[in-house]
Protein backbone atom coordinates (compact mmCIF):
# COMPACT_ATOMS: atom_id res chain seq x y z
CA UNK A 1 0.00 0.00 0.00
CA UNK A 2 1.41 3.36 -0.93
CA UNK A 3 1.19 6.48 1.20
CA UNK A 4 -1.67 8.95 0.78
CA UNK A 5 -2.62 12.44 1.91
CA UNK A 6 -5.54 14.75 1.24
CA UNK A 7 -5.11 17.69 -1.12
CA UNK A 8 -6.91 20.06 -3.47
CA UNK A 9 -7.60 18.65 -6.94
CA UNK A 10 -7.11 21.27 -9.66
CA UNK A 11 -9.00 21.37 -12.99
CA UNK A 12 -5.95 19.97 -14.84
CA UNK A 13 -5.83 16.97 -12.48
CA UNK A 14 -2.82 18.04 -10.43
CA UNK A 15 -3.05 18.13 -6.66
CA UNK A 16 -2.31 21.11 -4.39
CA UNK A 17 -1.41 20.86 -0.71
CA UNK A 18 -2.51 24.43 0.03
CA UNK A 19 -5.40 26.52 -1.31
CA UNK A 20 -3.95 30.01 -1.67
CA UNK A 21 -4.88 33.02 -3.80
CA UNK A 22 -1.64 34.42 -5.23
CA UNK A 23 -1.14 38.14 -5.81
CA UNK A 24 1.69 38.25 -8.36
CA UNK A 25 3.37 41.56 -9.26
CA UNK A 26 5.04 41.73 -12.68
CA UNK A 27 7.76 44.11 -11.39
CA UNK A 28 9.28 45.68 -8.29
CA UNK A 29 7.20 48.78 -9.00
CA UNK A 30 4.07 47.10 -7.63
CA UNK A 31 5.64 44.59 -5.25
CA UNK A 32 4.82 46.52 -2.09
CA UNK A 33 1.24 47.08 -3.29
CA UNK A 34 0.92 43.33 -3.90
CA UNK A 35 2.09 42.74 -0.33
CA UNK A 36 -0.38 45.32 1.03
CA UNK A 37 -3.25 43.66 -0.84
CA UNK A 38 -2.32 40.25 0.55
CA UNK A 39 -1.85 41.58 4.09
CA UNK A 40 -5.34 43.10 4.08
CA UNK A 41 -7.01 40.00 2.65
CA UNK A 42 -6.54 37.28 5.24
CA UNK A 43 -4.14 34.37 5.60
CA UNK A 44 -5.05 32.57 2.38
CA UNK A 45 -4.12 35.44 0.09
CA UNK A 46 -0.37 35.46 -0.45
CA UNK A 47 1.86 37.89 -2.35
CA UNK A 48 5.04 37.12 -4.26
CA UNK A 49 6.91 40.46 -4.12
CA UNK A 50 10.22 40.54 -6.00
CA UNK A 51 12.94 42.89 -7.25
CA UNK A 52 12.76 42.54 -11.05
CA UNK A 53 12.66 45.93 -12.85
CA UNK A 54 10.08 47.09 -15.36
CA UNK A 55 12.34 46.19 -18.28
CA UNK A 56 15.01 43.51 -18.64
CA UNK A 57 17.11 42.14 -21.53
CA UNK A 58 15.10 39.59 -23.55
CA UNK A 59 16.60 36.39 -22.11
CA UNK A 60 16.32 37.70 -18.56
CA UNK A 61 12.74 38.84 -19.16
CA UNK A 62 11.75 35.46 -20.57
CA UNK A 63 13.04 33.78 -17.44
CA UNK A 64 11.08 36.18 -15.21
CA UNK A 65 7.94 35.46 -17.28
CA UNK A 66 8.49 31.73 -16.86
CA UNK A 67 8.80 32.14 -13.08
CA UNK A 68 5.70 34.35 -12.73
CA UNK A 69 3.59 32.02 -14.86
CA UNK A 70 4.98 28.91 -13.18
CA UNK A 71 4.34 30.25 -9.70
CA UNK A 72 0.72 31.00 -10.64
CA UNK A 73 0.38 27.50 -12.10
CA UNK A 74 1.68 25.81 -8.95
CA UNK A 75 -1.08 23.46 -7.77
CA UNK A 76 -1.06 25.14 -4.34
CA UNK A 77 -2.59 28.18 -6.07
CA UNK A 78 -6.40 28.21 -6.34
CA UNK A 79 -6.59 31.55 -8.17
CA UNK A 80 -4.26 34.41 -9.09
CA UNK A 81 -4.37 38.18 -9.36
CA UNK A 82 -1.56 39.46 -11.60
CA UNK A 83 -0.67 43.02 -10.71
CA UNK A 84 1.12 45.55 -12.93
CA UNK A 85 1.97 49.21 -12.77
CA UNK A 86 1.26 49.38 -16.48
CA UNK A 87 4.70 50.39 -17.74
CA UNK A 88 6.34 46.94 -17.58
CA UNK A 89 7.68 45.21 -20.66
CA UNK A 90 6.18 42.02 -19.22
CA UNK A 91 2.53 41.69 -20.28
CA UNK A 92 0.31 40.92 -17.27
CA UNK A 93 -2.43 39.55 -19.57
CA UNK A 94 0.02 37.04 -21.05
CA UNK A 95 1.06 35.89 -17.55
CA UNK A 96 -2.61 35.51 -16.52
CA UNK A 97 -3.38 33.60 -19.73
CA UNK A 98 -0.48 31.27 -18.99
CA UNK A 99 -1.80 30.65 -15.48
CA UNK A 100 -5.33 29.88 -16.70
CA UNK A 101 -3.88 27.11 -18.88
CA UNK A 102 -3.72 25.05 -15.69
CA UNK A 103 -7.47 25.65 -15.30
CA UNK A 104 -7.47 28.06 -12.35
CA UNK A 105 -8.90 31.59 -12.65
CA UNK A 106 -6.40 34.42 -13.10
CA UNK A 107 -7.21 38.12 -13.35
CA UNK A 108 -5.10 41.21 -13.99
CA UNK A 109 -5.10 44.69 -12.52
CA UNK A 110 -3.17 47.80 -13.55
CA UNK A 111 -2.32 50.28 -10.80
CA UNK A 112 -2.19 53.16 -13.29
CA UNK A 113 -5.61 52.26 -14.69
CA UNK A 114 -7.40 51.92 -11.35
CA UNK A 115 -6.04 55.30 -10.24
CA UNK A 116 -3.02 54.89 -7.97
CA UNK A 117 -1.99 52.98 -4.89
CA UNK A 118 -4.94 53.56 -2.54
CA UNK A 119 -7.46 52.63 -5.20
CA UNK A 120 -5.31 49.63 -6.17
CA UNK A 121 -5.13 48.33 -2.60
CA UNK A 122 -8.87 48.78 -2.17
CA UNK A 123 -9.88 47.21 -5.46
CA UNK A 124 -7.14 44.57 -5.26
CA UNK A 125 -8.35 43.49 -1.82
CA UNK A 126 -11.93 43.24 -3.06
CA UNK A 127 -10.95 41.15 -6.05
CA UNK A 128 -8.67 38.94 -3.95
CA UNK A 129 -11.60 38.41 -1.55
CA UNK A 130 -13.84 37.38 -4.44
CA UNK A 131 -11.24 34.96 -5.76
CA UNK A 132 -10.81 33.59 -2.25
CA UNK A 133 -14.58 33.16 -1.80
CA UNK A 134 -14.77 31.20 -5.04
CA UNK A 135 -11.83 29.00 -4.04
CA UNK A 136 -13.24 28.24 -0.59
CA UNK A 137 -15.54 25.65 -2.15
CA UNK A 138 -12.52 23.45 -2.83
CA UNK A 139 -12.43 20.44 -0.50
CA UNK A 140 -9.52 18.20 0.28
CA UNK A 141 -9.70 14.77 -1.32
CA UNK A 142 -7.50 11.73 -1.05
CA UNK A 143 -4.38 11.83 -3.17
CA UNK A 144 -1.48 9.49 -3.68
CA UNK A 145 2.10 10.22 -2.63
CA UNK A 146 3.03 9.59 -6.27
CA UNK A 147 1.38 12.93 -7.09
CA UNK A 148 3.85 14.88 -4.98
CA UNK A 149 6.76 16.87 -6.34
CA UNK A 150 9.14 17.30 -3.43
CA UNK A 151 11.76 20.02 -3.76
CA UNK A 152 14.83 19.74 -1.57
CA UNK A 153 17.17 22.56 -0.75
CA UNK A 154 20.02 23.34 1.61
CA UNK A 155 21.00 26.69 3.07
CA UNK A 156 23.18 27.81 5.91
CA UNK A 157 25.11 24.55 5.59
CA UNK A 158 27.71 23.31 8.01
CA UNK A 159 29.53 20.05 8.45
CA UNK A 160 26.44 18.37 9.94
CA UNK A 161 24.48 19.05 6.71
CA UNK A 162 26.43 16.47 4.72
CA UNK A 163 26.60 14.02 7.61
CA UNK A 164 23.05 14.11 9.02
CA UNK A 165 20.38 16.41 7.57
CA UNK A 166 21.10 15.92 3.86
CA UNK A 167 21.35 12.11 3.97
CA UNK A 168 18.12 12.01 6.03
CA UNK A 169 16.25 14.14 3.49
CA UNK A 170 17.85 11.99 0.78
CA UNK A 171 16.41 8.88 2.46
CA UNK A 172 12.97 10.56 2.38
CA UNK A 173 13.43 11.27 -1.36
CA UNK A 174 14.21 7.58 -1.88
CA UNK A 175 10.99 6.62 -0.03
CA UNK A 176 8.87 9.06 -2.07
CA UNK A 177 10.37 7.85 -5.35
CA UNK A 178 9.74 4.25 -4.29
CA UNK A 179 6.09 5.34 -3.87
CA UNK A 180 6.11 6.76 -7.40
CA UNK A 181 6.67 10.48 -6.75
CA UNK A 182 9.11 13.12 -7.93
CA UNK A 183 12.01 14.60 -5.97
CA UNK A 184 14.11 17.48 -7.23
CA UNK A 185 17.21 19.27 -6.10
CA UNK A 186 19.24 22.05 -7.67
CA UNK A 187 21.95 24.67 -7.00
CA UNK A 188 24.33 23.80 -9.83
CA UNK A 189 27.35 25.64 -8.31
CA UNK A 190 27.05 23.12 -5.49
CA UNK A 191 27.49 20.22 -7.90
CA UNK A 192 31.09 21.38 -8.56
CA UNK A 193 33.44 18.69 -7.32
CA UNK A 194 30.63 16.13 -7.05
CA UNK A 195 29.35 16.14 -10.64
CA UNK A 196 31.11 12.87 -11.48
CA UNK A 197 29.06 11.13 -8.77
CA UNK A 198 25.80 12.49 -10.23
CA UNK A 199 26.90 11.89 -13.83
CA UNK A 200 27.42 8.20 -13.09
CA UNK A 201 23.80 8.02 -11.91
CA UNK A 202 22.17 9.61 -14.99
CA UNK A 203 19.84 7.21 -16.78
CA UNK A 204 20.61 8.54 -20.25
CA UNK A 205 23.49 10.16 -22.10
CA UNK A 206 21.56 13.36 -22.84
CA UNK A 207 20.96 14.07 -19.14
CA UNK A 208 24.59 13.23 -18.34
CA UNK A 209 25.91 15.61 -20.98
CA UNK A 210 23.52 18.36 -19.96
CA UNK A 211 24.54 18.05 -16.31
CA UNK A 212 28.28 18.21 -17.07
CA UNK A 213 27.74 21.13 -19.48
CA UNK A 214 25.79 23.15 -16.89
CA UNK A 215 28.43 22.55 -14.22
CA UNK A 216 31.14 23.60 -16.70
CA UNK A 217 29.22 26.78 -17.49
CA UNK A 218 28.94 27.75 -13.83
CA UNK A 219 32.61 27.06 -13.24
CA UNK A 220 33.65 28.80 -16.48
CA UNK A 221 31.78 31.90 -15.35
CA UNK A 222 34.22 32.17 -12.44
CA UNK A 223 37.12 31.76 -14.87
CA UNK A 224 35.69 34.28 -17.34
CA UNK A 225 35.51 36.82 -14.56
CA UNK A 226 39.02 35.89 -13.35
CA UNK A 227 37.68 35.41 -9.86
CA UNK A 228 38.39 32.81 -7.25
CA UNK A 229 35.20 31.14 -6.10
CA UNK A 230 36.75 30.49 -2.72
CA UNK A 231 35.71 33.91 -1.44
CA UNK A 232 32.06 33.02 -1.86
CA UNK A 233 31.98 29.22 -1.90
CA UNK A 234 31.91 27.85 0.67
CA UNK A 235 30.44 31.00 2.23
CA UNK A 236 32.13 32.50 5.30
CA UNK A 237 29.29 30.96 7.36
CA UNK A 238 29.85 27.53 5.81
CA UNK A 239 33.55 27.86 6.61
CA UNK A 240 32.85 28.74 10.20
CA UNK A 241 30.72 25.59 10.29
CA UNK A 242 33.68 23.49 9.18
CA UNK A 243 33.28 23.31 5.39
CA UNK A 244 36.64 24.00 3.74
CA UNK A 245 36.18 23.69 -0.03
CA UNK A 246 33.41 23.74 -2.64
CA UNK A 247 34.15 20.07 -3.35
CA UNK A 248 33.43 19.19 0.28
CA UNK A 249 30.28 21.30 0.32
CA UNK A 250 29.04 19.77 -2.95
CA UNK A 251 29.71 16.16 -1.91
CA UNK A 252 27.67 16.81 1.23
CA UNK A 253 24.97 18.71 -0.68
CA UNK A 254 24.12 16.14 -3.35
CA UNK A 255 23.20 13.46 -0.82
CA UNK A 256 19.98 15.37 -0.06
CA UNK A 257 18.59 14.01 -3.35
CA UNK A 258 18.94 10.42 -2.17
CA UNK A 259 20.44 7.51 -4.03
CA UNK A 260 18.12 6.83 -6.98
CA UNK A 261 19.06 7.32 -10.67
CA UNK A 262 18.99 10.87 -12.10
CA UNK A 263 16.12 10.81 -14.60
CA UNK A 264 16.54 14.29 -16.09
CA UNK A 265 17.59 17.91 -15.66
CA UNK A 266 15.37 20.94 -16.36
CA UNK A 267 16.16 24.65 -16.59
CA UNK A 268 15.41 27.18 -13.86
CA UNK A 269 11.63 27.30 -13.22
CA UNK A 270 10.83 24.84 -16.03
CA UNK A 271 7.96 22.40 -15.38
CA UNK A 272 8.93 19.31 -13.38
CA UNK A 273 7.32 15.99 -14.29
CA UNK A 274 4.77 14.30 -11.99
CA UNK A 275 5.83 10.74 -11.18
CA UNK A 276 9.27 11.50 -12.56
CA UNK A 277 11.67 10.06 -10.00
CA UNK A 278 14.75 12.15 -9.22
CA UNK A 279 15.04 15.20 -11.51
CA UNK A 280 17.64 17.98 -11.23
CA UNK A 281 17.01 21.67 -11.85
CA UNK A 282 19.74 24.09 -13.02
CA UNK A 283 19.57 26.96 -10.51
CA UNK A 284 21.95 29.38 -8.81
CA UNK A 285 23.23 28.63 -5.33
CA UNK A 286 21.19 31.40 -3.70
CA UNK A 287 18.67 29.36 -1.71
CA UNK A 288 15.59 31.64 -1.86
CA UNK A 289 15.82 31.94 -5.66
CA UNK A 290 16.47 28.24 -5.96
CA UNK A 291 13.38 27.36 -3.87
CA UNK A 292 11.24 29.69 -6.01
CA UNK A 293 12.55 28.02 -9.20
CA UNK A 294 11.37 24.63 -7.96
CA UNK A 295 7.96 25.98 -6.86
CA UNK A 296 7.57 27.60 -10.29
CA UNK A 297 8.37 24.13 -11.66
CA UNK A 298 5.44 22.66 -9.71
CA UNK A 299 6.90 21.48 -6.40
CA UNK A 300 4.15 21.54 -3.75
CA UNK A 301 6.38 20.98 -0.70
CA UNK A 302 10.00 21.90 0.02
CA UNK A 303 12.40 20.39 2.54
CA UNK A 304 15.17 22.77 3.51
CA UNK A 305 18.17 21.49 5.44
CA UNK A 306 20.20 23.87 7.54
CA UNK A 307 23.02 23.22 9.94
CA UNK A 308 23.52 26.81 10.97
CA UNK A 309 19.83 27.68 11.30
CA UNK A 310 18.15 29.34 8.31
CA UNK A 311 14.57 30.50 9.03
CA UNK A 312 13.41 31.03 5.44
CA UNK A 313 10.00 29.99 4.07
CA UNK A 314 7.87 30.71 1.00
CA UNK A 315 4.45 32.34 0.48
CA UNK A 316 2.91 29.51 -1.58
CA UNK A 317 4.55 26.24 -0.58
CA UNK A 318 5.25 24.87 2.89
CA UNK A 319 8.96 24.66 3.69
CA UNK A 320 9.99 21.91 6.12
CA UNK A 321 13.12 22.78 8.07
CA UNK A 322 15.50 19.93 8.86
CA UNK A 323 18.65 20.38 10.93
CA UNK A 324 21.42 17.91 11.68
CA UNK A 325 23.12 20.19 14.17
CA UNK A 326 22.16 19.40 17.79
CA UNK A 327 23.03 22.94 18.90
CA UNK A 328 20.84 24.50 16.22
CA UNK A 329 17.98 22.13 17.11
CA UNK A 330 18.18 23.35 20.71
CA UNK A 331 18.79 27.01 20.01
CA UNK A 332 16.31 27.43 17.15
CA UNK A 333 13.69 24.79 17.93
CA UNK A 334 10.86 27.20 17.10
CA UNK A 335 12.10 27.50 13.51
CA UNK A 336 12.81 23.79 12.92
CA UNK A 337 10.44 20.97 11.94
CA UNK A 338 12.57 17.83 11.94
CA UNK A 339 15.52 16.97 14.17
CA UNK A 340 18.08 14.99 12.17
CA UNK A 341 20.83 15.59 14.73
CA UNK A 342 19.90 12.16 16.08
CA UNK A 343 22.20 10.94 13.30
CA UNK A 344 25.18 12.84 14.72
CA UNK A 345 24.40 11.24 18.07
CA UNK A 346 24.45 7.72 16.66
CA UNK A 347 20.91 7.27 15.30
CA UNK A 348 20.34 5.75 11.87
CA UNK A 349 19.82 7.75 8.69
CA UNK A 350 16.94 5.45 7.72
CA UNK A 351 15.05 6.31 10.92
CA UNK A 352 15.55 10.08 10.46
CA UNK A 353 14.58 9.69 6.79
CA UNK A 354 11.31 8.04 7.78
CA UNK A 355 10.54 10.98 10.07
CA UNK A 356 11.22 13.42 7.21
CA UNK A 357 8.93 11.40 4.93
CA UNK A 358 6.17 11.22 7.57
CA UNK A 359 6.48 14.99 8.03
CA UNK A 360 6.26 15.51 4.26
CA UNK A 361 2.96 13.57 4.16
CA UNK A 362 1.57 15.35 7.24
CA UNK A 363 2.48 18.74 5.85
CA UNK A 364 0.97 17.81 2.46
CA UNK A 365 -2.13 16.83 4.45
CA UNK A 366 -2.36 20.34 5.95
CA UNK A 367 -0.06 20.40 8.97
CA UNK A 368 1.57 23.84 9.23
CA UNK A 369 5.35 24.11 9.16
CA UNK A 370 7.33 26.32 11.55
CA UNK A 371 7.90 28.83 8.72
CA UNK A 372 4.18 28.89 7.83
CA UNK A 373 3.13 29.42 11.45
CA UNK A 374 5.48 32.40 11.62
CA UNK A 375 4.49 33.66 8.16
CA UNK A 376 8.08 33.57 6.93
CA UNK A 377 7.54 34.05 3.21
CA UNK A 378 10.76 34.87 1.39
CA UNK A 379 10.42 35.21 -2.36
CA UNK A 380 13.08 36.11 -4.96
CA UNK A 381 13.47 35.52 -8.67
CA UNK A 382 16.84 34.73 -10.23
CA UNK A 383 17.80 37.43 -12.72
CA UNK A 384 20.15 36.39 -15.50
CA UNK A 385 23.08 38.78 -15.08
CA UNK A 386 24.86 40.75 -17.85
CA UNK A 387 28.02 38.66 -17.40
CA UNK A 388 25.99 35.46 -17.86
CA UNK A 389 24.40 36.85 -21.02
CA UNK A 390 27.90 37.82 -22.25
CA UNK A 391 29.19 34.32 -21.47
CA UNK A 392 26.32 32.85 -23.49
CA UNK A 393 27.39 34.99 -26.45
CA UNK A 394 31.00 33.87 -26.10
CA UNK A 395 29.82 30.25 -26.16
CA UNK A 396 27.60 31.03 -29.15
Amino acid sequence: MTATFSGYRRPDGRIGVRNHVAVIPTSVAVSSIAKRIADSSGEHVRATPHQMGTSQPKRAREQTERVLTGVGQNPNVAAALVLELGTESIDAEAIADGITESGVPAETMSVREVGGTSAAIEEGSERAAQLRAASEDARREEADASELIFGVECGGSDATSGIAANPSVGAACDLLIEDGGTATFSETPEFIGAEHVLADRCTDEETRERLLERVDQREALAELMGVDMRGAQPTPGNQEGGLTTIEEKSLGAIVKGGTTPVEGMVDYAEPLPVGGGLVLMDTPGYDVESVVGKIAGGAQVIAFTTGRGSTTGNPLAPVIKVTGNPRTWQRMASNMDVNASTVVEGGSIAEAGERVYDTLLSVADGQQTAAEMRRLEEFAINEIQPNELAAEEVRG
Partner: protein, 102 residues
Protein backbone atom coordinates in the same frame (compact mmCIF):
# COMPACT_ATOMS: atom_id res chain seq x y z
CA UNK B 1 24.83 6.83 11.30
CA UNK B 2 26.51 6.20 8.00
CA UNK B 3 30.11 6.82 8.99
CA UNK B 4 32.28 5.15 11.58
CA UNK B 5 32.52 6.79 15.01
CA UNK B 6 36.12 7.06 16.20
CA UNK B 7 37.31 6.94 19.78
CA UNK B 8 34.66 7.65 22.37
CA UNK B 9 32.30 9.53 20.04
CA UNK B 10 35.00 12.14 19.38
CA UNK B 11 35.07 12.09 15.60
CA UNK B 12 33.34 10.63 12.58
CA UNK B 13 35.00 8.89 9.65
CA UNK B 14 32.72 9.17 6.60
CA UNK B 15 34.48 6.65 4.34
CA UNK B 16 37.11 3.96 4.90
CA UNK B 17 39.74 5.59 2.66
CA UNK B 18 39.47 9.11 4.11
CA UNK B 19 42.54 10.84 5.60
CA UNK B 20 40.42 13.33 7.58
CA UNK B 21 37.61 12.86 10.11
CA UNK B 22 34.95 15.25 11.43
CA UNK B 23 35.07 16.33 15.09
CA UNK B 24 31.85 15.52 16.96
CA UNK B 25 32.95 17.64 19.92
CA UNK B 26 35.20 20.65 20.40
CA UNK B 27 38.62 18.99 20.56
CA UNK B 28 41.75 20.42 22.20
CA UNK B 29 45.49 19.73 21.95
CA UNK B 30 46.34 16.63 23.94
CA UNK B 31 42.94 14.98 23.43
CA UNK B 32 43.32 11.47 22.10
CA UNK B 33 41.24 9.59 19.61
CA UNK B 34 41.53 5.88 20.17
CA UNK B 35 45.00 4.64 21.13
CA UNK B 36 47.12 6.13 18.41
CA UNK B 37 46.01 9.64 17.48
CA UNK B 38 46.71 12.75 19.57
CA UNK B 39 45.09 16.04 18.67
CA UNK B 40 47.68 18.80 18.15
CA UNK B 41 45.46 21.90 17.71
CA UNK B 42 41.98 23.13 18.58
CA UNK B 43 39.43 21.43 16.31
CA UNK B 44 35.91 22.89 16.74
CA UNK B 45 32.75 20.73 16.43
CA UNK B 46 32.08 19.92 12.77
CA UNK B 47 35.62 20.74 11.66
CA UNK B 48 38.15 18.27 10.30
CA UNK B 49 41.25 16.68 11.75
CA UNK B 50 44.00 14.83 9.89
CA UNK B 51 44.11 11.10 10.63
CA UNK B 52 47.58 10.81 9.14
CA UNK B 53 50.34 13.12 7.86
CA UNK B 54 49.52 14.72 4.51
CA UNK B 55 52.33 16.11 2.33
CA UNK B 56 52.14 19.59 0.86
CA UNK B 57 50.15 19.28 -2.38
CA UNK B 58 48.71 15.93 -1.27
CA UNK B 59 45.02 15.07 -1.64
CA UNK B 60 42.68 15.68 1.26
CA UNK B 61 40.07 12.90 1.14
CA UNK B 62 36.58 12.92 2.74
CA UNK B 63 33.46 10.95 1.66
CA UNK B 64 35.98 8.77 -0.25
CA UNK B 65 36.50 11.69 -2.64
CA UNK B 66 39.17 14.38 -3.06
CA UNK B 67 37.90 17.59 -1.45
CA UNK B 68 41.06 19.65 -1.98
CA UNK B 69 44.85 19.77 -1.74
CA UNK B 70 47.07 20.41 1.28
CA UNK B 71 48.57 23.89 0.84
CA UNK B 72 51.25 22.99 3.39
CA UNK B 73 52.38 19.81 5.12
CA UNK B 74 49.77 18.67 7.63
CA UNK B 75 50.63 16.51 10.64
CA UNK B 76 48.44 13.74 12.03
CA UNK B 77 46.04 15.15 14.64
CA UNK B 78 46.11 18.67 13.16
CA UNK B 79 43.07 20.82 12.34
CA UNK B 80 42.43 20.78 8.55
CA UNK B 81 40.70 23.86 7.17
CA UNK B 82 41.17 26.80 4.79
CA UNK B 83 44.57 27.68 6.29
CA UNK B 84 46.14 24.42 5.10
CA UNK B 85 43.72 22.94 2.54
CA UNK B 86 42.53 24.56 -0.66
CA UNK B 87 40.01 23.83 -3.37
CA UNK B 88 41.09 22.69 -6.81
CA UNK B 89 37.88 23.87 -8.46
CA UNK B 90 36.25 27.16 -9.49
CA UNK B 91 39.68 28.80 -9.50
CA UNK B 92 39.24 31.71 -11.92
CA UNK B 93 42.20 33.35 -10.17
CA UNK B 94 44.51 30.55 -11.32
CA UNK B 95 43.13 30.71 -14.87
CA UNK B 96 43.80 34.45 -14.88
CA UNK B 97 47.38 33.84 -13.64
CA UNK B 98 47.98 31.32 -16.41
CA UNK B 99 46.83 33.86 -18.99
CA UNK B 100 49.10 36.59 -17.60
CA UNK B 101 52.06 34.19 -17.37
CA UNK B 102 51.58 32.94 -20.93
Amino acid sequence: MKGEVLGDGDALLMHAGDNVATALEDLEPGDTIGDELTITSDVPFGHKLALEAIDEGGDVVKYGEVIGAASEAIAAGEWVHTHNCESKRGRGDLAAQEVSNA
